[in-house]
């Protein structure tokens, strides 16, 4: 095996994560196979044994056993398995007699690869965007506010009296969107504005970071960015003193 991956980097990531649950779950799986036909990847692949949830998490046990020794090929194999053979739905856990949270184990592996710089390119870019601009599409504050004003104008042409209140302090609801909406689907924002207006709701949208309610950092288990994204939204909600935060469909 060519050792072109630093085992220390792998263990430095895994060691602090090896909590009581993770350790226990790696240790006690008795390979009973009850999880096999609970997995939609298994069923959809014509019952390919390689899709058995218990099999997919073997990497974690192996990496720990081998003290982090791995090569690029193994990392690629792990990458393919944990991104394209599992979407962490946790259905297997509902059928595991021990309640082993395989989704959590897969998520740990995703975090490990992310820490080594391996993740789907699209997600990596999106996470960079969150860090820089607070939203996944890198929409600037000016563009966002301008889009809202324009949406308000367009919607008002169809429904009388449509207003999209920006940064209205003390509103009941703070509305947040998917950053793809201002970028590609502004009509969604208009429709929502019409509904809120007709329903007579007291609502607002924030102009600052926190208006994007998607959290793609979660999918690559980048915990600190995922946390930052949620905190942005909470910060805005507190500043605007709203009672509820609504998220887009």
């Amino acid at each position: 095996m060519t050792e072109d991956v630093n085992p220390k980097a792998i263990m430095d990531f895994l060691k602090p994560k090896l909590g009581a649950r993770l350790r226990t779950w790696i240790d006690i799986c008795t390979h009973c196979g009850m999880c096999a036909d609970t997995c939609h990847f298994y069923l959809a692949s014509g019952k390919d044994p390689k899709m058995i949830p218990s099999y997919k998490v073997r990497f974690l046990r192996d990496l720990i056993k081998r003290k982090g020794r791995a090569d690029k090929e193994l990392l690629q194999e792990i990458y393919k398995s944990i991104y394209y053979e599992c979407n962490m739905c946790k259905r297997c856990t509902l059928y595991c007699p021990f309640g082993i949270d395989i989704g959590f184990l897969i998520s740990t592996l995703r975090g490990l690869l992310t820490s080594l710089g391996i993740a789907p390119e699209g997600l990596k870019k999106a996470v960079e965007n969150y860090k820089l601009t607070g939203n996944q599409m890198a929409v600037s504050k000016e563009d966002w506010v301008e889009t809202i004003l324009w949406c308000e104008e367009e919607a008002a042409a169809e429904v009388v009296g449509v207003k999209i209140p920006i940064d209205k302090k003390g509103a009941k609801i703070m509305y947040t969107v998917n950053a793809r909406e201002p970028k590609f689907y502004p009509q969604d924002i208009m429709e929502v504005a019409k509904i809120f207006t007709v329903a007579g709701e007291d609502w607002t949208v924030p102009s600052e970071k926190g208006w994007d309610d998607t959290n793609l950092a979660m999918f690559i288990s980048d915990a600190s960015t995922a946390r930052m994204i949620v905190e942005n939204t909470f910060k805005r909600a507190e500043e605007l003193e709203v009672k509820q935060v609504a998220v887009t469909e």
């Binding site: 009581a20 226990t24 779950w25 008795t30 058995i52 099999y55 021990f98 309640g99």
Partner: protein, 221 residues
Amino acid sequence: MDLSSFAEGPLLWIAFLVFIIGTLIRMAQFLFVAKTKDRPFYNYFSLKYILATLARWLLPLNVDVKKNPVFIICVYLFHICLIVVPIWLSGHVSMWEESRFGWSWSSLPDKWADWMTLLLLAIAVYFILRRALSPDLRIITTFADYLLIVVTVLPFLTGYCLTHGTLDSIKFLGDNMRLLHVLSAELMLILIPLTRLSHSVLFFFSRAATGVEFGRRGYSI
């Protein structure tokens, strides 16, 4: 001291101590490590969810019974025999009575113990065949999985042969069956805290952790 009296003397003590202290350490480890690394377990600790999930999975009230009834019923029977026979076997109870502890409790009719042992052995054969024949299980099965089934049933196999003289026609086995029985039981006891046989205690913690996590989110536990 010959091997026989060593196996029934100091080694028995060692085996029991490794088993008891080892499992206690595994349990304590879980609780202490969880304190720093699995905060949600304590933050959302809920006895309600834990008892609910344990009841559901200790009794045949769970989804797996419906999904795979034959296998799961075998699993339940296997574990019942595994726990009941060694504890309530009359031969074992009388040894506790004669021991320095002088403990005594009621025992199982020997006929029952015999049948339960045979049932356990038959189920173990089914487990092994199931592993060997199913392509699904073959891919996830490791050598240790087979080995641990063997380690688990050996004390029962030797115990049955010992009480019935089944293999006494083979001189070596006939002479040493008691020793083999004691050694195999000690091996199993020692391996419980050290291998995935530790699921005997960690089952409760694993289920509890997932019960708390899934319960608070309103998932099925």
